[in-house]
Subunit: 139 residues, 6 copies
């Protein structure tokens, strides 16, 4: 029986800025450039979550799409959408909210939340059309 | 010599609905929601077929693109385009035409049809911009 | 004070086929080609609704976007999504559900439903990326 | 001689939130919903600027594209990109930075800045793929 | 009866470069920059042709789409696709093949070729995602 | 610590044609079709470069994006953009500039140019929306 990889996309809008308190102001400006502006700037992020597994013979589903959507909304979209990542999301009190760290944070929020036969395979986060970060792994 | 993965995209429009005769009407409605409407609804599907292999030194091709296009048209697009998947496509007499099962059906239709050095690597089917299924495998 | 044109996009999936009972079977096949298949085929339609008006000084809105979304959902998306246009939508009992007629039908469903200062300016319907129909007019 | 309309696209990322100090907190929440979060959220905005005019016979240009790009960068992109619209852009000290008001502000920043035969015809601002505002007018 | 605007998209690939023999080499380099390279460079052009008219009651069409596609292919795509605009297309023996002049040339190739009730309304040519030219007019 | 895959996109425009001097004129026409036109034709190519590695705790980066952009510009975009691949790029004096060979050429130009912890993982080249080639791994 073939394994199928199923990917669902969702979007959220958020603000962020890049600043490391251990860096001097000059280092912050040099390393983070325009992204160091403490007022923050924002993006329309696109999230793609991929699960994989066998296809259920009764439903034809690797995973119920409504359930996947509900998990993505509850664990990620409702938490991050229309938020300022630095000020309102616990992961980014200590970490820089780069696309890389955002992909890891979303992976961890989703990990272990899927029921049934499907497993989390990949989290891909687009900051914009020209930049995306991906995390893979086994639950 | 490097292996190259070559992907070609094609589109088709089709109708489908989700219904399992072993389920009660209530189960069908609960599990399949709006997709259970027996009149069917439809999608502009996007198919991406990836082949891989070494590059032919004379032509610069992993595979002749015209040949790949002809195979995709003959085995998949001409069969599925402007069709009702449930009523007109043999695979879906018995199976629910979910994106997952559609990806498997297309894989099987293409498998073994490539000539020469290239091998079928991946079939990806988008039901819409927000949902896609992928099947990988060895011929 | 400048007039602003505000456009909101939404998507729906539907089935249709083209058949005119006044045509002979040969005429139907010749004129409508693959679209004449009575099982129907389907599309992911994209709807763009444009309203225009002055900007409200208190809200900065031409029209409340949530209200526009609710009207679009209630009058169009909830009616057409996951439906077979020929069998389930009254406008298409008598008319061929071409992209042209679909744009007119959506215009008529939205016309007169907007409150306040904004007026319906344009309805644009994409059947797919390569084809769209537009209707303009005054309420 | 035919008039040609020439459109150039550019992108910028910015933060904003919606708040009217004349409204009560309850009104602000009701009218602006999630957009009222004072930390702000953000978007990848897409700007399309359309100029129109006759085609210069020597150059084949309605307007030198490098000059148009320079004007768009100097007057708009360099000003708005990686900024918080409410806190850093003068127009939005008093006005709500809705897509509508942003389109008007960009129109005013560009108006009168074009040299030669081309005239500013339209400013279109996408907040995301599903929403855009347009302003037209004569300089 | 409402007028409907119907738009069909098509694509072609072509090479071009910008050079005016009346300019000095320095002028050509200054005015045309990288586009002055006489070897040429190329683009995937996207063409959108819009026709308008009343909807035929029997067919539901403003214009038969197959006929529109055939005209676009015969008059434009078959002529320009996989060609070097400067060397192989008569209009550009004397004119610079800018996006502006290309839109005018395509307009003139299509003008008067439509049969029946539909009229040519707009030709839009994208050189890439960030740049397009439009020509409007009455036949 | 999780490995993150970071992808950055860039675009360039170039001309090319397909011709193998070892083939007869008939073979060249049969094998390469329209692509055999010696004047060349062109494309807007899209390049996606993926690097992978651990996330630097201080910066939150797998790799400094400005550095990645600079390397992509210096090694690839500045070399290929607005060029005729056959006549101006050394790799294609001897090789057919197919999408496959272009992906390999770009891989080789980027290989070994990244500093620090990130490694080159994948080069993906789109000739247009419907066709792309990918190269992975360490040679």
């Amino acid at each position: 029986m073939k394994t199928v990889y199923l990917t669902r996309k969702a979007e959220f809008s958020a603000s962020h800025f890049y600043h490391n308190p251990k860096f001097t102001p000059e280092e912050n400006r040099r390393i983070f450039g325009k992204c160091n502006n403490p007022h923050g700037h924002g993006h329309n992020y696109t999230l793609e979550v991929t699960v994989r597994g066998p296809v259920n013979e009764q439903s034809g589903f690797v995973m119920d799409l409504k359930q996947l959507k509900d998990i993505m909304n509850r664990e990620v979209i409702d938490v991050l959408d229309h938020r300022h990542l630095n000020y309102e999301i616990p992961e980014f009190k200590e970490q820089i909210p780069t696309t890389e760290n955002l992909a890891i944070a979303i992976w961890r929020r989703l990990q272990g939340k899927l029921d049934g036969g499907a497993r989390l395979y990949r989290v891909r986060v687009y900051e914009n059309d020209d930049l995306f970060a991906e995390v893979y792994g086994e639950e």
